[in-house]
C-alpha cells in the first residue's frame, strides 16, 4: 500500500442519475430556477470575465402572471410578438400533424420539438437576414419563423419527387440555404465548429453577417463542441453558440453530459467566452438574450454561449418511447412551463391577443398545414415509390461525375 493512501473507504465510481425515473416524481430543484427579473443585464461590451455569475444564474423576463419584468425585458413591438406566437403555434401544429403522418406510414421517421418552440422562433426574430444558422434536427422553428413554404418541407419529409434534397437525407435533416439554414448533419456536434468557421469567414471578408450554432445538452460532450469554443474565443468569431438543454439526450439525463453540479453555460467560462443561462421557455428572455449576443457578435465583441433551459416534451424521435426511462408526466411538472402558453398569456395581458383570436389562428394554421400536406402528398412519397430516380443517386458525389460512377450507373441500368 502506498504511504500516501488516506484511511478511507475504497474508490468507487460515481454514475449520475436523474432525480426522477418512471413511476417517480422528478425533483426539479436541480435547475435552480430564480424569479423573473432577478438576473442583471450587463452592457454588451462587458468583458466575459466580469460576468461569470450569469452562467449560473437564469435570465427570465415573463413572471408567473405573464408580465414582462426586470432589466432583460426587451424592446419589441406587439406585432413582432404576435408573429412569434403564430410561428410557435405553426411549429407545434406542423409537428403534431407530421407525427400523425409518420404513424400513418406516410413519412418514414420524424422528430418534433414540442416544448422548445420559443428558442428557435424568438432567436430567429433576433437575427438579421443573411445570418447563417447551423442547426440540429430540433430547430424547425427557425424555418417557421423564416416562413419557408411548408410544401417544400413536407416534400423533404415524404422523400418524394419534389424533395429538394433528392431523397438523400432522412426526414427532418433539411438544408435551406435561402433561409440561412445550413444542411443538418446526422453526426452530432460537427456543425458548431463549422459555424465558428463561417463566422471567421465573415470576419475575414469584412462582412456584417454573423453565425448561430445549435447543439443539444447531450452533444456538448463531443470534442467538436469544445474545439468550437476554443476557436471562437481565439479568433473572437462573430458567432452565437446555442446549447439547448432539454434535460435529455435520448434516454440519457443531462447529468451524464456533465450538467451535474454545474451548468452548460459554465462551459464557456473556462474558454473566456461570454456565457448566459436563460429560461428557454420564456419567449421574451430568448429574444432579449439573443439580441444581446447578436449585438456583441456584430460589434466585434466576440462569441457568446447561451444555455437555453427547456424540456424535451416529446419522444426523442418516432423511434423512442420516453416513458421507459422518465416519468410520463414530467413535462407537466417542469417548472418553466409551456413557452406557447406563457407568450399567449403575456399578449393577452397587454391586450394584443385573445382566446378567440387564438382559436381562429389555430384553426387557420391547422388548415394551412393540412393543405400543404395534401399538396405535398400529391407529388408522391417514399411509401408509394414516387421518389427521385435511382439515376440521381450518383449525382452530387462530385461536381463532375467521374468515370467509375458513370459505369456504376450504367450497370444499374438507369
Amino acid at each position: 500500500m502506498s504511504k500516501n493512501a488516506p484511511a478511507c473507504t475504497p474508490l468507487r465510481l460515481h454514475v449520475p442519475e436523474p432525480t426522477g425515473r418512471p413511476g417517480q416524481h422528478t425533483d426539479f430543484s436541480y435547475l435552480h430556477v430564480t424569479p423573473a427579473g432577478a438576473t442583471r443585464r450587463p452592457p454588451v461590451d462587458t468583458q466575459p470575465a466580469a460576468i461569470g455569475d450569469l452562467a449560473f444564474a437564469l435570465v427570465r423576463v415573463l413572471d408567473a402572471d405573464g408580465n414582462a419584468v426586470g432589466p432583460w425585458a426587451p424592446q419589441i413591438t406587439p406585432e413582432r410578438l404576435r408573429f412569434g406566437l403564430r410561428a410557435m403555434l405553426k411549429t407545434r401544429i406542423f409537428d403534431a400533424r407530421m407525427l400523425i403522418a409518420q404513424r400513418q406510414k406516410k413519412i418514414s421517421f420524424y422528430m418534433q420539438c414540442l416544448g422548445e418552440e420559443a428558442i428557435s422562433v424568438a432567436h430567429a426574430l433576433a437575427l438579421d437576414e443573411g445570418d447563417m444558422c447551423f442547426p440540429t434536427y430540433r430547430q424547425q422553428g427557425l424555418l417557421m419563423a423564416r416562413e419557408v413554404p411548408l410544401v417544400e418541407l413536407i416534400c423533404q419529409l415524404l422523400s418524394n419527387q419534389r424533395d429538394p434534397l433528392k431523397g438523400r437525407q432522412l426526414p427532418v435533416l433539411y438544408s435551406v440555404r435561402k433561409a440561412g439554414f445550413f444542411s443538418i448533419s446526422g453526426n452530432l456536434a460537427t456543425q458548431v465548429v463549422q459555424a465558428v468557421g463561417w463566422g471567421m469567414a465573415a470576419a475575414i471578408k469584412g462582412d456584417t453577417k454573423i453565425a448561430s450554432a445549435w447543439i443539444g445538452d447531450g452533444s456538448t460532450a463531443e470534442a467538436d463542441f469544445h474545439t468550437a469554443l476554443v476557436f471562437a474565443h481565439v479568433y473572437r468569431a462573430p458567432v452565437i453558440i446555442n446549447v439547448v438543454n432539454n434535460q435529455w439526450a435520448i434516454s440519457t439525463f443531462q447529468a451524464i453530459a456533465g450538467g451535474e453540479g454545474t451548468t452548460f453555460a459554465a462551459r464557456g467560462i473556462g474558454s473566456g467566452i461570454a456565457s448566459l443561462r436563460v429560461d428557454g421557455n420564456d419567449f421574451l428572455a430568448v429574444y432579449a438574450a439573443s439580441r444581446w449576443a447578436a449585438e456583441r457578435a456584430r460589434c466585434n465583441l466576440g462569441p457568446t454561449l447561451i444555455e437555453w433551459v427547456t424540456y424535451r416534451a416529446g419522444g426523442h424521435s418516432t423511434s423512442d418511447d420516453p416513458t421507459k426511462y422518465r416519468p410520463a408526466d414530467d413535462w407537466k411538472n417542469f417548472p418553466l412551463g409551456d413557452p406557447l402558453e406563457r407568450l399567449k398569456q403575456h399578449l393577452i395581458n397587454i391586450g394584443a391577443w385573445s382566446e378567440e383570436e387564438h382559436q381562429s389562428v389555430q384553426k387557420e394554421l391547422e388548415a394551412e398545414v393540412a393543405a400543404a400536406l395534401k399538396e405535398a402528398e400529391s407529388y408522391g412519397s417514399l411509401a408509394d415509390g414516387h421518389v427521385h430516380s435511382a439515376a440521381e443517386m450518383f449525382e452530387d458525389v462530385y461536381e463532375e461525375m467521374p468515370e467509375h460512377l458513370r459505369r456504376q450507373r450504367q450497370e444499374l441500368g438507369v
Binding site: R168, L405, V414
Partner: protein, 368 residues
C-alpha cells in the same frame, strides 16, 4: 504478408434445429434456446459479466435504457451501474476511457450507437488502441471490444446505414469481426471479449431480428425459424480467424459476410449456380486456408459486400485470391458491392446490392 492461417476449429455447419443440446470438447452439454441476434449478443455480455469481473459494458444509452437496439437491456439492473453504465455522447471519450481501463486490466465492451458515429473515435482506435501493444513492446495492451451496429436495409439514410469495415481492416493491430447469425454473434462476441487485442465488432443491424436475403418486399423471417437462431444459453466461443462454409457448393466460391451471406444464398438459389458461400466472420486477421481451399476446388470466385466498392474490403480479398489461387482461376474474380455513393435514404433498394445484382455477378463469374 504474415497473417496467421488458422483452420476452422469448429463444425462450420450450424447445429440443426431440434438438436437441443450442444457440446464441444471439454465442456458439458448445454441447453439451447431460440434467440434473436440481439438476445444472443446480450447473452454473451451477460455470460462474460458473470464469469469475469473485469468485464465492463458501457456506451450511449446503454445503461438504464439498455441501448437503442436493447442489446444491453437488463444488464445494469443485474450487474450494477459501475459495471454497466451510460456514457456522455463522445465516441472519442468512450474509446479513450476503454483504452485506459484496458491498460488497468479491465476488459471493456463499449457500444458505439451506430458504426456511422465511430469516426470521432478514429484517433483513439487507429493511433492508440491498435498500436499500444506495439509501441510499449507489450507492456500495455488494449483488450477492448467495440461493438457497433452497421449496414443498411432499415431506411436509415446515410448516417445509420454505413459499412465501414475497410477503414478498420486497413489498420494493423485491430481485429475486425462481423457475425451473420445469433449463434456466431454470441460465440464471436465472447471470443472477442476474451481476446487481448482490440476488436472492432460489427453487427449487421438488419439481421438483429431475423435473416434477410435482400427481398425487402417479402415478410420478415424471424430467427426462431432459422437453425442458427438456436443458441446455447451458457458460455461457448466461436474462434476468431475462422471462416464458416455457410453453403457448400462446387461451381463458384463466394466470399462474403454479414447480411450479404443471406443475399448471396438467395442469389445462388435464384441463379441455379452451385455456389460455395463462405461466411468470413473474422474479416481481419482472416482464415485464408478455407478461402484458398474452396477457390482451388471451384476455380471461380465472387466477392460480395454491402460497403462501397472502391478500396473496399473486397479489394483485399480479390488480391489474396489472385495471389494464392491464380493458376486455379478459370475466370476473373467478380466483385459485387454497394455503389460508390453515400447511402441514400429514398433509393435504398437501388443502392443495396440485392439478390438480382448479386446473381448477375455470379453469372459473370461463371462466364468464360
Amino acid at each position: 504478408m504474415s497473417e496467421k492461417y488458422c483452420p476452422p476449429q469448429e463444425p462450420s455447419v450450424p447445429p440443426s434445429r431440434g438438436e437441443k443440446l450442444l457440446g464441444r470438447p471439454g465442456e458439458s452439454l448445454q441447453k439451447t434456446t431460440s434467440m434473436t441476434m440481439i438476445q444472443a449478443l446480450r447473452s454473451a455480455m451477460d455470460v462474460m459479466l458473470e464469469r469475469d469481473d473485469n468485464v465492463v459494458v458501457f456506451g450511449e444509452d446503454v445503461g438504464y435504457f439498455g441501448g437503442v437496439f436493447r442489446c444491453t437491456e437488463g444488464l445494469q439492473k443485474k450487474f450494477g451501474s459501475s459495471r454497466v453504465f451510460d456514457t456522455p455522447i463522445s465516441e472519442s471519450g468512450i474509446v479513450g476511457v476503454a483504452v485506459g481501463m484496458g491498460a488497468y486490466g479491465l476488459r471493456p465492451v463499449a457500444e458505439i450507437q451506430f458504426a456511422d458515429y465511430v469516426y470521432p473515435a478514429t484517433d483513439q482506435i487507429v493511433s492508440e488502441a491498435a498500436r499500444l501493444r506495439y509501441r510499449s513492446a507489450g507492456e500495455f495492451i488494449a483488450p477492448i471490444t467495440l461493438r457497433m451496429p452497421c449496414g443498411g436495409g432499415i431506411y436509415g439514410g446515410q448516417t445509420h446505414s454505413q459499412s465501414p469495415e475497410a477503414y478498420f481492416t486497413h489498420v494493423c493491430g485491430l481485429r475486425t469481426v462481423m457475425p451473420s447469425n445469433p449463434y456466431d454473434a454470441k460465440g464471436l462476441l465472447i471470443a472477442s471479449i476474451e481476446n487481448n487485442d482490440p476488436v472492432i465488432f460489427l453487427e449487421p443491424k438488419r439481421l438483429y431480428n431475423g435473416p434477410f436475403d435482400g427481398h425487402h418486399d417479402k415478410p420478415v423471417v424471424p430467427w426462431s425459424q432459422h437453425p442458427q437462431g438456436e443458441v446455447p444459453e451458457g458460455y461457448y466461443t466461436v474462434p476468431l480467424e475462422a471462416a464458416a462454409v455457410y453453403r457448400p457448393g462446387n461451381e463458384l466460391t463466394v466470399l462474403t459476410y454479414g447480411t450479404m451471406v443471406f443475399v448471396a444464398e438467395a442469389a445462388a438459389m435464384e441463379s441455379g449456380i452451385d455456389a460455395e458461400i463462405i461466411d468470413l466472420r473474422s474479416l481481419w486477421p482472416l482464415d485464408l486456408d478455407t478461402i484458398v481451399n474452396s477457390v482451388k476446388k471451384t476455380g471461380r470466385c465472387a466477392v460480395v459486400h454491402e460497403a462501397t466498392r472502391s478500396s473496399g474490403f473486397g479489394a483485399e480479398l480479390t488480391a489474396l485470391v489472385q495471389e494464392h489461387c491464380f493458376y486455379h482461376l478459370e475466370a476473373p474474380i467478380e466483385r459485387v458491392a454497394g455503389w460508390d455513393t453515400p447511402y441514400p435514404h429514398a433509393q435504398e433498394w437501388a443502392y443495396f446490392p440485392g439478390p438480382a445484382r448479386v446473381a448477375e455477378g455470379f453469372k459473370r463469374a461463371m462466364e468464360k
